[in-house]
Assembly symmetry: C2
Homo-oligomer: 252 residues x 2
């Protein structure tokens, strides 16, 4: 049986989804739960890497079992696996998917949310879960500026030295900035994202709010294809993988 | 200077606000921060005890310094103290209050919120911060039933054996139950609360939703003045001290 798992995790304790030599990964605790449940280390394939400290509300991972495994109906799998997972990781849903389904290649949309607590004083309920920014942010200015990111662009200016992919063209479907009380939310949806792309977009928009970068400079920053042209990289703590969508017919 | 501090804390790591022999209290970490800042263990008086694992968004504590202390303007005190506090405790505000102000006796209103995650599957972002209840809760039925708690009543049926006060009459100003997605929120405001009173009210309302107690039984449960008449005590993890109000003229 091929199960597509929907995971949610608080990333504070983890070095990201992907197994790393130094540090505990979400994949590792999930792999251990799979082994505890099925008695076998069946392979897991994630929908993307996430950085250390990044959170997820809708992460997809494919679990491939075989005929030796006891057949667990997909609707029972979340509770069965959650018994073996720490409280900061949960399987929310599971569905059967056909052979050949790939949780990374079949993605057509990913949405990230980035939370900024716009306050001089921190909030214990968002420790490690939002980026604290003390001076008042101009949400309207950032929202308008963010529209320049929408569309198909080479996002080389918004990725870090660690980015190893050659093709840096991505399509951003939508970008928005909104406020609810002290919490400022950045949402960006696209067909894929480069390493640090969302965090650099957020840092750049914050610098636009602060008047360090003019909104009219954004098209030029994109054209420069130079990381030095954009703003700072906002820290991992505010970032949430919020939604992952697949081609029609490839999900249940 | 007498400072009235407004605190917020995630109670998961604490045995409550009050200093206890066994376990770390919020008061203890705050007392340590006061000592680190002022070089002296100036006395702290809290607005109430809170149980182990209970959270607060608006806890009030009085800090009395004396002429030996360097004078710190109240508006600077939150950031100054937060430097010495763990990330799950924060001072949100500080204001100067006159001599004789008592943070417990001057309270005219306290509001608690209780969060129930109404889902079969847990949420990593609410681990230790909401009570998980798997079967669908009837919010309307609970909200209507809760109105029987409003008013001045002897709440003996809603307190636990540990309650040491003789006068168990309290006035409840308002009680409401609402839902936002999977999160069900119980809010109750009153002039004071007995030990476990909010948690027992929530447990009783859940039993009303489940059909184990009839809404029409609530007046009789109050009249019984017998803990055995009410429902179960919901666990501490879902409880938040949400708001504390003082007599006019006694706060800034």
């Amino acid at each position: 049986m091929n199960y597509l798992l929907t995971l949610s995790y608080d990333g504070r304790a983890y070095c990201g989804y992907q197994v790393q030599k130094n540090g505990l990964s979400v994949q590792e605790v999930l792999q251990n739960a799979v082994e505890a449940l099925f008695g076998s280390r069946y392979p897991l394939t994630g929908c993307s890497r996430t950085d250390s400290g990044v959170h997820a509300r809708d992460y997809k991972a494919l679990l491939k079992t075989d005929e030796r495994a006891s057949v667990i109906p997909p609707e029972r799998l979340p509770l069965a696996l959650n018994r073996f997972l720490p409280e900061d990781v949960a399987v929310l849903e599971a569905e059967a998917v056909p052979d050949g389904f790939h949780p990374r290649y079949a993605v057509v949309l990913k949405e990230y949310e980035y939370l900024v607590l716009n306050s001089r004083v921190r909030d214990p309920f968002y420790a490690g879960r939002a980026f604290l920014w003390p001076t008042p942010l101009d949400v309207e200015r950032m929202h308008e500026a963010a529209q320049a990111l929408v569309g198909t662009h080479d996002f080389s200016s918004f990725t870090s030295a660690g980015c190893e992919v050659a093709d840096r063209v991505r399509k951003v479907f939508s970008a928005s900035v909104s406020r609810e009380g002290k919490m400022v939310s950045f949402r960006i949806a696209g067909n894929g994202f480069l390493y640090h792309m969302v965090r650099t977009a957020v840092g750049t928009l914050i610098e636009i709010s602060e008047g360090k970068i003019a909104p009219a400079d954004l098209p030029g920053i994109l054209e420069a294809r130079d990381r030095g042209a954009a703003g700072f990289t906002a820290p991992a703590c505010g970032l949430y993988l919020n939604r992952v969508e697949y081609r029609k017919g490839e999900e249940a």
